[in-house]
């Protein structure tokens, strides 16, 4: 089994190496086999692991080779196979494979075709390491690796400096989070003397609630999660990251990488459970992000940016879920989100593809007729994310909402408002893109076409997953068997036994909550329909003067500008100050000053040597008198 296990990440790595080393020599045809092929192999092996998962129950940690061993520090290269990692494994390789296939069509004409697949394979490899690692450092390898791939893929079209800037921003913001992660690891090592999940979690069980070290650890790790999963305050990179090719956005910035933070918190659930303070902070962060991002999404006009903010918002939901102890719910939402958000992005990709790169929804419209398949899949995705039963999004979101309600009614209310906003902006987008008349140029209109089958089939598969993915965890309330919950239960068992449990909502309340949100969502859909499909809204150019709050929101609350003002500019200014003032005018001047002083002294002292014998004699006599005087008379 170990061989299979190591092969899962090795296949994509192999794909990367082949495509990367021979990137010019390999024809596109081969690349389009190698790229997705390796991921498919990984997916198949993941399925094998999934079906043999009981073999791992006894010894979930599989050792491969010692990696870093210094005295007390022992970090083996080993994988942890438990339900949680298997779930992620399937998502990463499964969704990854689908998106790879889609990319064959999407990137068909790009000169960097091979390079693209190389990077994508590398990404899958890193993501698999992240998911499979049996200790924090191995996870961190993947953690940083996906950051790198994200950097490479956002800046894939590197002729454009704006894209490059976006890529750099993503990497640096991730790195800020990574520093938190790193420090968290150090603290873990300090407290537990180990970094392996099994050791740490086993020891953690015996630690008291709210232990300050644990709080610090979890907060630091959460900083990492904030960076990676684009939460407030480190979220601004994700909208910019849309500079990358759309499949990248689908795979990395929707389905997998950005959820790594959620995965990490879920993985460390026991630590988080021990730290209510962190949970509270996490919950507030998640909630704020969910609402904040949703509010921005309403006023965005770039199809991918809307989806980006939507992703941020949905990630916020997941963190709220985690913070209220709904680990399964969060993971469930993560899974369904992977399906529907990947689908949304791929649909958006088809649209962009069809429009020759156009991303502004104000220049779209009426695509329902020319791209029916895309429209239908997009519709399914929209309904899913909006939470229309019985599509998967409904179940996953509902699970988080119900848990939130147990935790506090206000929390539920705010989340529900977020849900309504989600529904609103999603339907706004749907209507603006697919309804009304086409608003683009004639040339675009002429070229409008449905995506080729290599792109369509992935859409369909994802649409099916998005629609029926909810089946894996239908709540008991609706007569489901809660399959995913049971599957994941061992992972969270310890936490559940420690955690304080709120009284579960009664069935009646459950139904009530469900219906309230449902009605609200439908209302939003209708409102948006009249506003955007029938009405004349949503086409205003950016610069029309609007009321202050609207201007705030549509400019993303000026957060980018704020960061620029607070961090980027000061650092540059400090840099200039340090270099020009401290370094050159101060330190170096002191160093040179010593030298100059010596030279100056030398050039001055030499004038004692007047060349005048009388003077010399005079000085000598002075010297003699001084020596005699000092030595004899004193």
């Amino acid at each position: 089994m170990n061989a299979i296990l190591i092969l899962i990440p090795l296949f994509p790595l192999l794909g990367f190496l082949i495509l990367g080393l021979g990137f010019r020599a390999i024809p596109k045809k081969w690349a389009s086999v190698i790229g997705p092929g390796t991921v498919l192999l990984s997916f198949i092996l993941s399925l094998v692991v999934f079906f043999n998962f009981h073999d791992f129950a006894a010894s979930p940690t599989r050792f491969f080779f010692p990696w870093l061993h210094v005295g007390p520090l022992d970090i083996p290269f080993s994988f942890l196979i438990d339900p949680l990692s298997i779930l992620m494994l399937l998502i990463v390789t499964g969704v990854g494979f689908i998106i790879h296939v889609y990319s064959i069509g999407y990137m068909k004409d790009d000169p960097g075709f091979n390079r693209f697949f190389a990077y994508m394979n590398l990404f899958v490899f890193s993501m698999l390491l992240l998911v499979l690692g049996a200790n924090y450092p191995i996870m961190f390898i993947g953690w940083e690796g996906v950051g790198l791939c994200s950097y490479l893929l956002i800046g894939f079209w590197f002729r454009n400096h704006e894209y490059n800037n976006a890529a750099k921003k993503a990497f640096i913001m991730n790195r800020i989070g990574d520093l938190g992660f790193l420090l968290g690891m150090f603290l873990i090592f300090n407290i537990f003397n180990s970094l392996s999940f099994d050791h740490v979690f086993a020891q953690a069980k015996s630690i008291s609630f709210g232990n300050p070290s644990i709080v610090a650890i979890t907060l630091l790790l959460f900083v990492g999660a904030v960076g990676k999963s684009a939460q407030i305050p480190l979220y601004t990179w994700l909208p910019d990251a849309m500079a990358g090719p759309t499949p990248v956005s689908a795979l990395i910035h929707a389905a997998t990488m950005v959820t790594a933070g959620v995965y990490m918190v879920a993985r460390s659930n026991i630590l988080y459970v021990l730290s209510p303070a962190t949970m509270a902070i996490m919950g507030m962060t998640g909630l704020a992000t969910a609402l904040f991002a949703a509010s921005i999404a309403i006023f965005q006009n770039d199809i991918k940016k809307i989806l980006a903010y939507s992703t941020i918002s949905q990630l916020g939901y997941m963190f709220v879920g985690l913070s209220v102890g709904a680990f399964t719910g969060a993971m469930f939402h993560l899974t369904t989100h992977a399906f529907f958000k990947a689908l949304l992005f791929l649909c958006a990709g088809s649209v962009i593809h069809a429009l020759g790169g156009e991303q502004d929804i104000r220049s779209m419209g009426g695509l329902r007729k020319t791209m029916p398949k895309t429209f239908w899949t997009f519709l399914i995705a929209t309904l899913t994310i909006a939470g229309i039963p019985p599509l998967s999004g409904f179940f996953s979101k509902d699970e988080v909402l119900v848990k939130a309600f147990e935790f506090g009614h206000l929390l539920w209310l705010l989340l529900a408002i977020g849900t309504l906003m989600t529904a609103f902006y999603m339907f706004r987008m749907l209507y603006l893109v697919f309804f009304r008349d086409f608003r683009g140029s004639d040339e675009q209109k002429h070229h409008l076409h449905e995506a080729p089958s290599v792109m369509r089939i992935p859409l369909v598969i994802l649409a099916l997953l998005a629609a029926f993915g909810g089946l894996i965890n239908i709540p008991a309330l609706l007569g489901g068997n809660e399959g995913l919950s049971k599957f994941l239960a061992p992972v969270f068992a310890d936490s559940f036994s420690i955690m304080e449990h709120e009284t579960p909502v009664s069935n009646g309340t459950g139904w009530l909550l469900m219906s309230v949100t449902f009605v609200g969502v439908v209302a939003m859909a209708v409102w948006a329909y009249f506003r955007y499909a029938k009405g004349k809204h949503g086409l205003e150019p950016d610069d029309t003067s609007r009321s202050f709050p609207v201007r705030m929101v549509s400019n993303k609350y000026y957060i980018d500008e704020l960061y620029d003002y607070l961090f980027v500019k000061p650092v540059l200014r400090i840099s200039r100050f340090l270099h020009e003032i401290v370094e050159l005018r101060f330190i170096d001047r002191i160093v040179n000053g010593v030298g100059n002083l010596v030279v100056w002294t030398g050039s001055t002292v030499r004038f004692i040597q007047t060349g005048n014998v009388g003077f010399y004699m005079f000085i000598m006599i002075l010297g003699i008198i001084l020596i005699l005087f000092l030595n004899i008379l004193i």
């Binding site: 010596v598 030398g602 002292v605 004692i608 004699m617 010297g623 003699i624 004899i632």
Partner: protein
């Protein structure tokens, strides 16, 4: 004693050869004679004894330093053929006087009586007055000899006065008896004796060129014909410092504390002033003069330290300093010949036109600066060790600072040689001269790598 006799004979022989108009024989005879007297000196190694009621004492120290002196003179004479090659007039007087100066220097290393010290110093000095002015046509040479003569005879007056006062208080010129007198004083010395002691120190300090009695050195070095400057900078300095050292070791061990502070301060001042003043010199020859002043300061370190290592340290230091300095002067002679001046700019681009000579000068500069693994480093290291053994930490730190400053000027020629554009003048050097330069360079490296050849002797 055999050294002094053989050298005197050699000197007379040279003068006779001059009378017999055998100019071409001069150098071979001198070099051979120097080798012979060096051999005779070394044969005295284990034959320690004294002559004429301890007027002359031959011991390890005197033999070792006499050898250094004769060897340095040998090296200098090896440069003479080239230096004087175009000169028409007979040279027997200059050569002869040099030999006599050497005789005086040897006397200064082996005296056992202040009379002999005085005679040695005067023999050396009077010869040098002549040598400094030997380039009669050059006004600089005239000036050099005038300055040297006036200051030299003035200061030898003080030296004499010192000797007289010592004689007055101790009743003898004999080093041994003076030391008996010192021991009998048991810590309290009459002012007359102290005054004599310090005047003696001052007289010797002048010869070594120690601040504040160093003023003559830069001017005289610059004005004196280059070959003879090399002689002054090496032989005279070595002889004088050894004389001072011998004086202290033989008589005044007991009163180390009395003169220690004075020498300490003089050493520190010499190191600092010599090096500082050297920094700004545009003239290689004058720079070497300041360098030699600073090296006097370093040598004084051995005297101040007055430890069991001092003699070895001094031997290594004088030897390595002499060889490196002579080598540098050897290049300087070439430069002066080709360019007519001693400015650093004349060295520009020498690395391209004359790589071998450039290398020799570089090695000698690095050695003087005390860069390992050259002789100069080992010498400095040994000296510092000797000083630190006596806990002279601050003096050593001053010496270190001085070394650091000295790099500033020792690197000037190096930078000119390798980093500046050539001015296209190629030095014209015949093979024996090259071989000689290489020989000295190799010695500098060799002593650095195998210091134990020299160090364990004393």
């Amino acid at each position: 004693m055999t050294t002094i006799i053989s050298l005197t004979i050699l000197g007379v022989l040279v003068l006779f050869l001059g009378i017999m108009k055998k100019q071409s024989w001069l150098l071979p005879v001198i070099l051979l004679g120097l080798v012979v007297s060096m051999v005779l000196t070394i044969m005295d190694w284990n034959a320690a004894r004294s002559y004429y009621h301890e007027m002359i004492i031959v011991d390890h120290v005197s033999v070792a330093f006499s050898t250094v002196l004769i060897f340095s003179t040998f090296l200098i004479f090896s440069l003479a053929a080239h230096y004087y090659r175009g000169v028409q007039r007979p040279l027997d007087d200059i050569y002869g006087v040099m030999i006599f100066a050497l005789t005086g220097a040897v006397m200064m290393t082996s005296y056992g009586n202040l009379i002999m010290l005085f005679l040695g110093i005067e023999t050396l000095s009077i010869a040098l007055y002549v040598l400094a002015g030997s380039h009669k046509e050059a006004i600089t040479s005239n000036e050099a000899t005038l300055k040297y003569f006036l200051l030299g005879s003035f200061l030898s007056g003080f030296l004499l006065f010192g000797i007289a006062l010592i004689y007055g208080s101790s009743g003898s010129f004999d080093l041994h008896r003076i030391s008996v007198y010192v021991a009998s004083c048991a810590g309290t010395y009459p002012p007359m004796f102290l005054a004599g002691l310090f005047l003696l120190i001052i007289g010797l300090a002048f010869k070594i060129a120690i601040v504040p009695f160093h003023f003559w050195a830069p001017d005289v070095y610059e004005g004196t014909p280059t070959l003879l400057t090399a002689f002054m900078a090496t032989v005279v300095k070595t002889a004088s410092i050894v004389a001072m050292f011998r004086f202290f070791t033989h008589t005044f061990q007991g009163i180390h504390g009395v003169w220690e502070t004075t020498i300490w301060v003089m050493a520190a001042l010499t190191i600092l002033l010599g090096n500082l003043t050297g920094v700004y010199q545009p003239n290689l020859k004058r720079m070497l003069a300041y360098s030699s002043i600073s090296h006097s300061g370093y040598m004084l370190l051995a005297v101040v330290a007055f430890s069991r290592m001092s003699d070895n340290a001094l031997l290594l230091y004088t030897l390595s300093y002499s060889i490196a300095t002579i080598s540098a002067f050897g290049i300087l002679i070439l430069i002066r010949e080709a360019h007519g001046n001693d400015y650093f700019s004349s060295l520009n681009g020498m690395g391209k036109t004359n790589p071998l000579e450039a290398f020799c000068l570089t090695v000698s500069m690095l050695s003087l600066a005390g860069i390992p693994p050259l002789a100069g480093f080992m010498a400095k290291y040994y000296l510092f060790t000797a000083a630190l053994e006596k806990g002279l930490v601050w003096l050593v730190i001053i010496a270190i600072v001085g070394s650091a400053i000295s790099v500033a000027y020792y690197f000037k020629p190096i930078m000119a040689i390798y980093l500046k554009e050539s001015n296209g003048v190629k030095l014209n050097v015949e093979t024996p001269y090259k071989v000689h330069l290489m020989f000295m360079t190799l010695l500098v490296i060799l002593i650095g790598v195998l210091p134990f050849l020299v160090v364990g002797l004393l």
